[in-house]
Symmetry: D2
Subunit: 137 residues, 4 copies
Protein backbone atom coordinates (compact mmCIF):
# COMPACT_ATOMS: atom_id res chain seq x y z
CA UNK A 1 0.00 0.00 0.00
CA UNK A 2 1.30 3.40 -0.98
CA UNK A 3 2.21 5.97 1.68
CA UNK A 4 1.12 9.36 0.18
CA UNK A 5 4.05 11.27 1.73
CA UNK A 6 6.50 8.76 0.32
CA UNK A 7 4.83 8.99 -3.11
CA UNK A 8 5.18 12.78 -3.10
CA UNK A 9 8.84 12.56 -2.07
CA UNK A 10 9.67 10.15 -4.90
CA UNK A 11 7.66 12.16 -7.44
CA UNK A 12 9.68 15.24 -6.41
CA UNK A 13 12.84 13.30 -7.03
CA UNK A 14 11.57 12.20 -10.45
CA UNK A 15 10.68 15.82 -11.27
CA UNK A 16 14.23 16.89 -10.36
CA UNK A 17 15.58 14.56 -13.11
CA UNK A 18 15.44 16.73 -16.24
CA UNK A 19 14.66 13.99 -18.80
CA UNK A 20 12.04 12.28 -16.57
CA UNK A 21 10.41 15.69 -15.97
CA UNK A 22 10.39 16.48 -19.71
CA UNK A 23 8.73 13.10 -20.37
CA UNK A 24 6.18 13.86 -17.67
CA UNK A 25 6.64 10.56 -15.86
CA UNK A 26 4.08 10.25 -13.05
CA UNK A 27 4.44 7.99 -10.04
CA UNK A 28 1.19 6.17 -9.30
CA UNK A 29 2.05 3.89 -6.45
CA UNK A 30 4.97 2.43 -4.58
CA UNK A 31 5.63 0.09 -1.71
CA UNK A 32 8.28 -2.44 -0.75
CA UNK A 33 7.15 -4.82 -3.47
CA UNK A 34 7.54 -2.39 -6.35
CA UNK A 35 6.60 0.79 -8.12
CA UNK A 36 4.03 1.85 -10.72
CA UNK A 37 4.47 4.84 -13.04
CA UNK A 38 2.48 6.27 -15.92
CA UNK A 39 3.57 7.98 -19.14
CA UNK A 40 1.39 9.86 -21.59
CA UNK A 41 2.75 9.72 -25.12
CA UNK A 42 3.73 12.89 -26.99
CA UNK A 43 4.69 13.43 -30.63
CA UNK A 44 8.41 14.02 -29.98
CA UNK A 45 8.98 10.56 -28.47
CA UNK A 46 7.83 8.44 -31.41
CA UNK A 47 10.32 6.35 -33.28
CA UNK A 48 8.72 5.29 -36.49
CA UNK A 49 7.57 7.80 -39.07
CA UNK A 50 5.19 5.24 -40.60
CA UNK A 51 3.66 3.40 -37.65
CA UNK A 52 3.78 6.07 -34.96
CA UNK A 53 5.29 3.61 -32.48
CA UNK A 54 7.13 4.79 -29.39
CA UNK A 55 10.93 5.05 -29.89
CA UNK A 56 12.96 2.15 -28.48
CA UNK A 57 15.14 4.60 -26.56
CA UNK A 58 12.05 5.86 -24.72
CA UNK A 59 11.08 2.30 -23.81
CA UNK A 60 14.65 1.80 -22.53
CA UNK A 61 14.29 4.98 -20.47
CA UNK A 62 11.09 3.61 -18.90
CA UNK A 63 12.75 0.26 -18.07
CA UNK A 64 15.77 2.02 -16.52
CA UNK A 65 13.57 4.37 -14.51
CA UNK A 66 11.11 1.71 -13.32
CA UNK A 67 13.86 -0.70 -12.29
CA UNK A 68 16.02 1.94 -10.58
CA UNK A 69 13.17 3.43 -8.54
CA UNK A 70 12.10 -0.05 -7.43
CA UNK A 71 15.65 -0.68 -6.19
CA UNK A 72 15.99 2.76 -4.54
CA UNK A 73 12.70 2.27 -2.69
CA UNK A 74 14.21 -0.81 -1.09
CA UNK A 75 17.74 0.46 -0.44
CA UNK A 76 16.93 4.10 0.38
CA UNK A 77 20.21 4.85 -1.37
CA UNK A 78 20.86 6.24 -4.82
CA UNK A 79 21.97 4.16 -7.82
CA UNK A 80 24.23 4.39 -10.85
CA UNK A 81 23.19 2.07 -13.69
CA UNK A 82 25.97 -0.39 -14.57
CA UNK A 83 24.14 -2.02 -17.47
CA UNK A 84 20.64 -2.44 -18.84
CA UNK A 85 18.96 -4.94 -21.18
CA UNK A 86 15.63 -4.35 -22.90
CA UNK A 87 13.38 -6.79 -24.78
CA UNK A 88 10.97 -5.19 -27.24
CA UNK A 89 7.86 -7.34 -27.50
CA UNK A 90 5.51 -5.31 -29.70
CA UNK A 91 5.25 -1.74 -31.03
CA UNK A 92 4.03 0.78 -28.45
CA UNK A 93 1.07 2.54 -30.04
CA UNK A 94 -0.95 3.69 -27.02
CA UNK A 95 -1.56 7.21 -25.83
CA UNK A 96 -0.65 6.07 -22.32
CA UNK A 97 1.64 3.45 -20.76
CA UNK A 98 1.90 1.82 -17.36
CA UNK A 99 5.39 1.03 -16.06
CA UNK A 100 5.84 -1.60 -13.32
CA UNK A 101 9.19 -1.90 -11.59
CA UNK A 102 10.45 -4.53 -9.11
CA UNK A 103 13.68 -5.34 -7.33
CA UNK A 104 15.09 -8.78 -8.17
CA UNK A 105 18.06 -8.81 -5.79
CA UNK A 106 19.32 -6.18 -3.33
CA UNK A 107 23.03 -6.55 -2.62
CA UNK A 108 25.59 -4.57 -0.63
CA UNK A 109 27.39 -3.13 -3.65
CA UNK A 110 25.23 -4.11 -6.60
CA UNK A 111 21.45 -4.56 -7.00
CA UNK A 112 19.30 -5.90 -9.84
CA UNK A 113 15.88 -4.59 -10.88
CA UNK A 114 13.36 -5.28 -13.61
CA UNK A 115 10.51 -3.40 -15.25
CA UNK A 116 7.66 -3.88 -17.69
CA UNK A 117 5.96 -1.37 -20.00
CA UNK A 118 2.28 -2.14 -20.61
CA UNK A 119 0.01 -0.40 -23.10
CA UNK A 120 -3.54 0.81 -22.48
CA UNK A 121 -4.96 -2.56 -23.61
CA UNK A 122 -2.86 -4.38 -21.01
CA UNK A 123 -0.38 -5.76 -23.54
CA UNK A 124 3.32 -6.10 -22.73
CA UNK A 125 5.24 -3.69 -24.98
CA UNK A 126 8.73 -4.03 -23.50
CA UNK A 127 10.40 -5.57 -20.48
CA UNK A 128 13.92 -5.64 -19.17
CA UNK A 129 16.44 -5.53 -16.41
CA UNK A 130 19.24 -3.38 -15.13
CA UNK A 131 22.09 -3.82 -12.69
CA UNK A 132 22.86 -0.89 -10.41
CA UNK A 133 25.73 0.20 -8.22
CA UNK A 134 24.30 1.29 -4.88
CA UNK A 135 25.72 4.74 -4.09
CA UNK A 136 25.26 7.19 -1.23
CA UNK A 137 23.10 10.16 -2.16
CA UNK B 1 34.62 6.78 -47.50
CA UNK B 2 31.30 8.54 -47.28
CA UNK B 3 29.17 9.08 -50.39
CA UNK B 4 27.54 12.55 -49.88
CA UNK B 5 24.27 11.52 -51.57
CA UNK B 6 24.02 8.46 -49.35
CA UNK B 7 24.75 10.59 -46.28
CA UNK B 8 21.95 13.00 -47.17
CA UNK B 9 19.51 10.14 -47.75
CA UNK B 10 20.23 8.59 -44.35
CA UNK B 11 20.11 11.98 -42.59
CA UNK B 12 16.66 12.51 -44.16
CA UNK B 13 15.59 9.18 -42.76
CA UNK B 14 16.91 10.13 -39.32
CA UNK B 15 15.06 13.46 -39.52
CA UNK B 16 11.83 11.58 -40.30
CA UNK B 17 12.14 9.75 -36.95
CA UNK B 18 10.48 12.12 -34.48
CA UNK B 19 12.64 11.38 -31.41
CA UNK B 20 15.93 11.39 -33.39
CA UNK B 21 14.90 14.70 -34.96
CA UNK B 22 14.02 16.19 -31.57
CA UNK B 23 17.43 15.11 -30.26
CA UNK B 24 19.07 16.71 -33.30
CA UNK B 25 21.12 13.62 -34.19
CA UNK B 26 23.49 14.44 -37.05
CA UNK B 27 25.04 11.87 -39.37
CA UNK B 28 28.71 12.60 -39.95
CA UNK B 29 29.90 9.72 -42.06
CA UNK B 30 28.92 6.28 -43.21
CA UNK B 31 30.26 3.48 -45.33
CA UNK B 32 30.12 -0.31 -45.38
CA UNK B 33 32.28 -0.52 -42.27
CA UNK B 34 30.08 1.61 -40.06
CA UNK B 35 28.48 4.92 -39.24
CA UNK B 36 29.40 8.03 -37.25
CA UNK B 37 26.83 10.40 -35.70
CA UNK B 38 27.05 13.42 -33.47
CA UNK B 39 24.78 14.69 -30.69
CA UNK B 40 24.89 18.07 -28.99
CA UNK B 41 23.64 17.94 -25.42
CA UNK B 42 20.60 19.95 -24.32
CA UNK B 43 19.19 20.58 -20.83
CA UNK B 44 16.13 18.33 -21.25
CA UNK B 45 18.17 15.16 -21.79
CA UNK B 46 20.15 15.20 -18.55
CA UNK B 47 19.55 12.51 -15.98
CA UNK B 48 21.14 13.64 -12.79
CA UNK B 49 20.03 16.77 -11.01
CA UNK B 50 23.34 16.99 -9.13
CA UNK B 51 26.01 16.02 -11.69
CA UNK B 52 24.38 17.14 -14.92
CA UNK B 53 25.16 13.79 -16.56
CA UNK B 54 23.32 12.60 -19.66
CA UNK B 55 20.31 10.36 -18.87
CA UNK B 56 20.91 6.62 -19.32
CA UNK B 57 17.86 6.37 -21.57
CA UNK B 58 19.44 8.89 -23.95
CA UNK B 59 22.63 6.83 -24.05
CA UNK B 60 20.48 3.77 -24.80
CA UNK B 61 18.80 5.72 -27.60
CA UNK B 62 22.22 6.53 -29.10
CA UNK B 63 23.34 2.87 -28.92
CA UNK B 64 20.09 1.68 -30.54
CA UNK B 65 20.32 4.31 -33.30
CA UNK B 66 24.04 3.81 -34.01
CA UNK B 67 23.73 0.02 -34.14
CA UNK B 68 20.53 0.00 -36.23
CA UNK B 69 21.83 2.44 -38.85
CA UNK B 70 25.07 0.46 -39.16
CA UNK B 71 23.00 -2.67 -39.85
CA UNK B 72 20.58 -0.91 -42.25
CA UNK B 73 23.50 0.51 -44.24
CA UNK B 74 24.63 -3.05 -44.87
CA UNK B 75 21.27 -4.69 -45.48
CA UNK B 76 19.48 -1.81 -47.23
CA UNK B 77 16.40 -3.08 -45.42
CA UNK B 78 14.66 -1.67 -42.38
CA UNK B 79 14.94 -3.14 -38.86
CA UNK B 80 12.84 -3.73 -35.77
CA UNK B 81 14.88 -3.96 -32.56
CA UNK B 82 14.41 -7.33 -30.84
CA UNK B 83 16.56 -6.51 -27.82
CA UNK B 84 19.28 -4.11 -26.73
CA UNK B 85 21.97 -4.16 -24.02
CA UNK B 86 23.86 -1.09 -22.85
CA UNK B 87 26.96 -0.82 -20.64
CA UNK B 88 27.41 2.52 -18.90
CA UNK B 89 31.13 3.17 -18.43
CA UNK B 90 31.27 6.73 -17.03
CA UNK B 91 28.95 9.74 -16.66
CA UNK B 92 28.40 11.67 -19.89
CA UNK B 93 29.23 15.27 -19.08
CA UNK B 94 30.24 16.69 -22.47
CA UNK B 95 28.43 19.26 -24.56
CA UNK B 96 28.88 16.98 -27.57
CA UNK B 97 29.09 13.22 -28.19
CA UNK B 98 30.34 11.08 -31.06
CA UNK B 99 28.42 7.86 -31.75
CA UNK B 100 30.13 5.06 -33.71
CA UNK B 101 28.04 2.15 -34.98
CA UNK B 102 29.12 -1.14 -36.59
CA UNK B 103 27.47 -4.32 -37.80
CA UNK B 104 28.66 -7.47 -36.00
CA UNK B 105 26.72 -10.06 -38.00
CA UNK B 106 24.29 -9.68 -40.88
CA UNK B 107 21.87 -12.61 -41.09
CA UNK B 108 18.87 -13.44 -43.27
CA UNK B 109 16.27 -12.90 -40.56
CA UNK B 110 18.22 -11.39 -37.67
CA UNK B 111 21.26 -9.07 -37.54
CA UNK B 112 23.47 -7.86 -34.68
CA UNK B 113 25.00 -4.40 -34.35
CA UNK B 114 27.05 -2.52 -31.78
CA UNK B 115 27.72 1.13 -30.96
CA UNK B 116 29.89 3.31 -28.74
CA UNK B 117 29.23 6.77 -27.31
CA UNK B 118 32.39 8.85 -26.90
CA UNK B 119 32.65 12.21 -25.15
CA UNK B 120 34.50 15.30 -26.39
CA UNK B 121 37.69 14.17 -24.62
CA UNK B 122 37.64 10.85 -26.47
CA UNK B 123 36.51 8.85 -23.45
CA UNK B 124 34.10 5.92 -23.78
CA UNK B 125 30.84 6.87 -22.01
CA UNK B 126 28.66 3.90 -23.01
CA UNK B 127 28.75 0.96 -25.39
CA UNK B 128 26.33 -1.76 -26.28
CA UNK B 129 24.69 -4.07 -28.73
CA UNK B 130 21.33 -4.75 -30.22
CA UNK B 131 19.74 -7.58 -32.17
CA UNK B 132 17.43 -6.62 -35.02
CA UNK B 133 14.80 -8.33 -37.11
CA UNK B 134 15.44 -7.43 -40.74
CA UNK B 135 12.17 -6.18 -42.25
CA UNK B 136 11.17 -4.86 -45.65
CA UNK B 137 10.70 -1.10 -45.72
CA UNK C 1 -0.52 -29.62 -13.44
CA UNK C 2 1.98 -31.94 -15.05
CA UNK C 3 0.87 -34.57 -17.54
CA UNK C 4 3.17 -37.60 -16.89
CA UNK C 5 3.33 -38.61 -20.58
CA UNK C 6 4.30 -35.08 -21.54
CA UNK C 7 6.94 -35.01 -18.79
CA UNK C 8 8.47 -38.25 -20.10
CA UNK C 9 8.49 -36.95 -23.68
CA UNK C 10 10.31 -33.75 -22.68
CA UNK C 11 12.76 -35.64 -20.45
CA UNK C 12 13.56 -37.89 -23.44
CA UNK C 13 14.26 -34.80 -25.47
CA UNK C 14 16.53 -33.43 -22.74
CA UNK C 15 18.36 -36.76 -22.58
CA UNK C 16 18.94 -36.61 -26.33
CA UNK C 17 20.87 -33.34 -25.87
CA UNK C 18 24.42 -34.49 -25.08
CA UNK C 19 25.43 -31.68 -22.69
CA UNK C 20 22.10 -31.74 -20.79
CA UNK C 21 22.40 -35.53 -20.48
CA UNK C 22 25.99 -35.26 -19.21
CA UNK C 23 24.83 -32.71 -16.62
CA UNK C 24 22.03 -35.06 -15.59
CA UNK C 25 19.30 -32.43 -15.85
CA UNK C 26 16.01 -33.85 -14.59
CA UNK C 27 12.59 -32.48 -15.49
CA UNK C 28 10.34 -32.27 -12.43
CA UNK C 29 7.21 -30.67 -13.71
CA UNK C 30 5.81 -28.75 -16.63
CA UNK C 31 2.59 -27.16 -17.75
CA UNK C 32 1.51 -24.16 -19.79
CA UNK C 33 2.72 -21.78 -17.12
CA UNK C 34 6.29 -23.04 -16.98
CA UNK C 35 8.78 -25.76 -16.27
CA UNK C 36 10.77 -27.00 -13.27
CA UNK C 37 14.07 -28.89 -13.53
CA UNK C 38 16.59 -30.15 -11.02
CA UNK C 39 20.39 -30.43 -11.19
CA UNK C 40 22.66 -32.28 -8.79
CA UNK C 41 26.11 -30.73 -8.58
CA UNK C 42 29.22 -32.68 -9.56
CA UNK C 43 32.92 -31.85 -9.14
CA UNK C 44 33.60 -31.13 -12.83
CA UNK C 45 31.12 -28.25 -13.03
CA UNK C 46 32.60 -26.04 -10.30
CA UNK C 47 34.16 -22.74 -11.22
CA UNK C 48 36.14 -21.56 -8.29
CA UNK C 49 39.07 -23.53 -6.94
CA UNK C 50 38.81 -21.77 -3.56
CA UNK C 51 35.07 -21.49 -2.89
CA UNK C 52 33.75 -24.53 -4.72
CA UNK C 53 31.04 -22.42 -6.37
CA UNK C 54 29.24 -23.58 -9.51
CA UNK C 55 30.84 -22.25 -12.74
CA UNK C 56 29.06 -19.27 -14.34
CA UNK C 57 28.88 -21.12 -17.64
CA UNK C 58 26.89 -23.89 -15.96
CA UNK C 59 24.46 -21.33 -14.54
CA UNK C 60 24.15 -19.87 -18.05
CA UNK C 61 23.42 -23.38 -19.37
CA UNK C 62 20.62 -23.77 -16.79
CA UNK C 63 19.09 -20.40 -17.71
CA UNK C 64 19.20 -21.21 -21.44
CA UNK C 65 17.71 -24.66 -20.89
CA UNK C 66 14.98 -23.52 -18.48
CA UNK C 67 13.92 -20.62 -20.68
CA UNK C 68 14.01 -22.60 -23.94
CA UNK C 69 11.97 -25.53 -22.61
CA UNK C 70 9.39 -23.13 -21.18
CA UNK C 71 9.04 -21.55 -24.64
CA UNK C 72 8.96 -24.90 -26.49
CA UNK C 73 6.23 -26.20 -24.16
CA UNK C 74 4.07 -23.31 -25.32
CA UNK C 75 4.95 -23.26 -29.01
CA UNK C 76 5.38 -27.02 -29.57
CA UNK C 77 8.12 -25.99 -31.99
CA UNK C 78 11.88 -26.10 -31.58
CA UNK C 79 14.04 -23.04 -30.87
CA UNK C 80 17.45 -21.61 -31.73
CA UNK C 81 18.79 -19.21 -29.10
CA UNK C 82 19.42 -15.74 -30.58
CA UNK C 83 20.86 -14.23 -27.43
CA UNK C 84 20.95 -14.81 -23.68
CA UNK C 85 21.61 -12.63 -20.65
CA UNK C 86 22.41 -13.94 -17.18
CA UNK C 87 22.55 -12.13 -13.83
CA UNK C 88 24.64 -13.83 -11.16
CA UNK C 89 23.19 -13.01 -7.75
CA UNK C 90 25.26 -15.12 -5.33
CA UNK C 91 27.71 -18.05 -5.49
CA UNK C 92 26.05 -21.43 -6.08
CA UNK C 93 27.28 -23.70 -3.30
CA UNK C 94 24.49 -26.27 -3.01
CA UNK C 95 24.58 -29.92 -3.84
CA UNK C 96 21.31 -29.48 -5.72
CA UNK C 97 19.58 -26.70 -7.67
CA UNK C 98 16.03 -26.05 -8.79
CA UNK C 99 15.56 -24.36 -12.18
CA UNK C 100 12.28 -22.58 -12.96
CA UNK C 101 11.55 -21.48 -16.52
CA UNK C 102 8.73 -19.33 -17.90
CA UNK C 103 7.75 -17.85 -21.24
CA UNK C 104 7.57 -14.05 -21.27
CA UNK C 105 6.30 -13.53 -24.81
CA UNK C 106 5.47 -16.02 -27.55
CA UNK C 107 5.72 -14.46 -31.00
CA UNK C 108 5.40 -15.78 -34.55
CA UNK C 109 9.12 -15.62 -35.36
CA UNK C 110 10.76 -14.79 -32.06
CA UNK C 111 9.91 -15.70 -28.44
CA UNK C 112 11.32 -14.59 -25.09
CA UNK C 113 11.77 -16.77 -22.01
CA UNK C 114 13.24 -16.39 -18.54
CA UNK C 115 14.59 -18.71 -15.87
CA UNK C 116 15.79 -18.72 -12.28
CA UNK C 117 18.30 -20.99 -10.54
CA UNK C 118 17.53 -21.53 -6.84
CA UNK C 119 19.75 -23.27 -4.32
CA UNK C 120 18.67 -25.85 -1.74
CA UNK C 121 18.01 -23.10 0.83
CA UNK C 122 15.60 -21.38 -1.56
CA UNK C 123 18.01 -18.55 -2.40
CA UNK C 124 18.18 -17.07 -5.90
CA UNK C 125 21.61 -17.90 -7.35
CA UNK C 126 21.14 -16.67 -10.92
CA UNK C 127 18.36 -15.46 -13.19
CA UNK C 128 18.17 -14.41 -16.77
CA UNK C 129 16.47 -14.27 -20.11
CA UNK C 130 16.91 -15.46 -23.62
CA UNK C 131 15.39 -14.64 -26.98
CA UNK C 132 14.69 -17.54 -29.31
CA UNK C 133 13.96 -17.99 -32.99
CA UNK C 134 11.02 -20.38 -33.31
CA UNK C 135 12.00 -23.10 -35.78
CA UNK C 136 10.25 -26.19 -37.13
CA UNK C 137 11.58 -29.41 -35.62
CA UNK D 1 53.66 -10.30 -27.32
CA UNK D 2 53.19 -13.17 -24.92
CA UNK D 3 55.52 -13.64 -21.97
CA UNK D 4 55.94 -17.46 -21.61
CA UNK D 5 56.14 -17.36 -17.79
CA UNK D 6 52.94 -15.30 -17.65
CA UNK D 7 51.24 -17.71 -20.06
CA UNK D 8 52.16 -20.68 -17.85
CA UNK D 9 50.93 -18.90 -14.73
CA UNK D 10 47.53 -18.13 -16.29
CA UNK D 11 47.22 -21.65 -17.75
CA UNK D 12 47.85 -23.01 -14.23
CA UNK D 13 45.05 -20.81 -12.96
CA UNK D 14 42.73 -22.06 -15.72
CA UNK D 15 43.64 -25.66 -14.87
CA UNK D 16 42.74 -25.01 -11.23
CA UNK D 17 39.18 -24.13 -12.31
CA UNK D 18 37.41 -27.51 -12.42
CA UNK D 19 35.03 -26.83 -15.32
CA UNK D 20 37.70 -25.10 -17.46
CA UNK D 21 40.05 -28.02 -16.80
CA UNK D 22 37.36 -30.56 -17.74
CA UNK D 23 36.75 -28.64 -20.99
CA UNK D 24 40.49 -28.65 -21.67
CA UNK D 25 40.68 -24.92 -22.33
CA UNK D 26 44.20 -24.01 -23.52
CA UNK D 27 45.70 -20.54 -23.33
CA UNK D 28 47.52 -19.65 -26.54
CA UNK D 29 48.63 -16.11 -26.03
CA UNK D 30 48.07 -13.12 -23.81
CA UNK D 31 49.28 -9.57 -23.44
CA UNK D 32 47.85 -6.24 -22.32
CA UNK D 33 45.62 -6.04 -25.38
CA UNK D 34 43.87 -9.36 -24.84
CA UNK D 35 43.92 -13.11 -24.61
CA UNK D 36 43.58 -16.05 -27.00
CA UNK D 37 42.40 -19.51 -25.96
CA UNK D 38 41.64 -22.71 -27.80
CA UNK D 39 39.01 -25.41 -27.20
CA UNK D 40 38.81 -28.82 -28.85
CA UNK D 41 35.26 -30.10 -29.08
CA UNK D 42 34.19 -33.31 -27.36
CA UNK D 43 30.94 -35.32 -27.60
CA UNK D 44 29.62 -34.34 -24.16
CA UNK D 45 29.47 -30.61 -24.94
CA UNK D 46 27.18 -30.74 -27.95
CA UNK D 47 23.73 -29.26 -27.75
CA UNK D 48 21.77 -30.51 -30.66
CA UNK D 49 21.09 -34.18 -31.18
CA UNK D 50 20.44 -33.60 -34.89
CA UNK D 51 23.05 -31.06 -36.00
CA UNK D 52 25.88 -31.83 -33.61
CA UNK D 53 26.29 -28.15 -32.79
CA UNK D 54 28.07 -26.98 -29.64
CA UNK D 55 25.69 -26.32 -26.71
CA UNK D 56 24.86 -22.65 -26.09
CA UNK D 57 25.90 -23.00 -22.46
CA UNK D 58 29.39 -24.02 -23.59
CA UNK D 59 29.58 -20.96 -25.84
CA UNK D 60 28.50 -18.86 -22.84
CA UNK D 61 31.26 -20.49 -20.78
CA UNK D 62 33.82 -19.54 -23.44
CA UNK D 63 32.60 -15.90 -23.55
CA UNK D 64 32.70 -15.64 -19.74
CA UNK D 65 36.17 -17.18 -19.56
CA UNK D 66 37.65 -15.16 -22.43
CA UNK D 67 36.26 -11.86 -21.13
CA UNK D 68 37.20 -12.50 -17.49
CA UNK D 69 40.81 -13.51 -18.24
CA UNK D 70 41.23 -10.44 -20.48
CA UNK D 71 40.10 -8.26 -17.56
CA UNK D 72 42.21 -10.10 -14.95
CA UNK D 73 45.32 -9.74 -17.15
CA UNK D 74 44.86 -5.99 -16.96
CA UNK D 75 43.83 -5.64 -13.32
CA UNK D 76 45.99 -8.41 -11.80
CA UNK D 77 43.04 -8.93 -9.46
CA UNK D 78 40.39 -11.63 -9.45
CA UNK D 79 36.80 -11.14 -10.69
CA UNK D 80 33.26 -12.20 -9.88
CA UNK D 81 30.90 -12.06 -12.87
CA UNK D 82 27.97 -9.69 -12.25
CA UNK D 83 26.20 -10.39 -15.54
CA UNK D 84 26.89 -11.78 -18.98
CA UNK D 85 25.23 -11.45 -22.39
CA UNK D 86 25.87 -13.75 -25.32
CA UNK D 87 24.89 -13.41 -28.99
CA UNK D 88 24.73 -16.67 -30.93
CA UNK D 89 25.58 -15.97 -34.58
CA UNK D 90 25.73 -19.44 -36.17
CA UNK D 91 25.88 -23.09 -35.05
CA UNK D 92 29.32 -24.17 -33.81
CA UNK D 93 30.18 -27.28 -35.81
CA UNK D 94 34.00 -27.27 -35.73
CA UNK D 95 36.31 -29.70 -33.99
CA UNK D 96 38.23 -26.71 -32.63
CA UNK D 97 37.44 -23.13 -31.61
CA UNK D 98 39.51 -20.01 -31.04
CA UNK D 99 38.40 -17.68 -28.24
CA UNK D 100 39.54 -14.04 -28.26
CA UNK D 101 39.00 -11.91 -25.15
CA UNK D 102 39.48 -8.16 -24.64
CA UNK D 103 38.89 -5.65 -21.88
CA UNK D 104 36.44 -2.86 -22.81
CA UNK D 105 36.70 -0.78 -19.64
CA UNK D 106 38.72 -1.28 -16.47
CA UNK D 107 37.17 0.49 -13.49
CA UNK D 108 37.93 0.66 -9.77
CA UNK D 109 34.99 -1.51 -8.67
CA UNK D 110 33.55 -2.86 -11.92
CA UNK D 111 35.16 -3.82 -15.25
CA UNK D 112 33.69 -4.81 -18.63
CA UNK D 113 35.13 -7.40 -21.01
CA UNK D 114 34.14 -8.97 -24.31
CA UNK D 115 34.96 -12.17 -26.17
CA UNK D 116 34.42 -13.87 -29.51
CA UNK D 117 34.28 -17.57 -30.38
CA UNK D 118 35.57 -18.34 -33.88
CA UNK D 119 35.36 -21.68 -35.68
CA UNK D 120 38.13 -23.39 -37.63
CA UNK D 121 37.02 -21.65 -40.86
CA UNK D 122 37.41 -18.24 -39.22
CA UNK D 123 33.66 -17.67 -38.86
CA UNK D 124 32.18 -15.90 -35.84
CA UNK D 125 30.07 -18.43 -33.90
CA UNK D 126 29.24 -16.36 -30.80
CA UNK D 127 30.26 -13.09 -29.20
CA UNK D 128 29.35 -11.33 -26.01
CA UNK D 129 30.19 -9.27 -23.01
CA UNK D 130 30.31 -9.54 -19.27
CA UNK D 131 30.55 -7.12 -16.38
CA UNK D 132 32.79 -8.10 -13.48
CA UNK D 133 33.28 -7.01 -9.90
CA UNK D 134 37.00 -6.62 -9.29
CA UNK D 135 37.88 -8.59 -6.15
CA UNK D 136 41.09 -9.26 -4.27
CA UNK D 137 42.42 -12.76 -4.76
Amino acid sequence: MTDPAQLTAWQDRLNATPFAAWLGLALEGCDDTGIIMRLRSRPEILGSPSTGALHGGILATLIDTGASYAVMLRTERSVATIDMRVDFHRPGQSSEYRIEGNAIKIGHTVSTGEARVIDSEGKLVASGRAVFMNVER
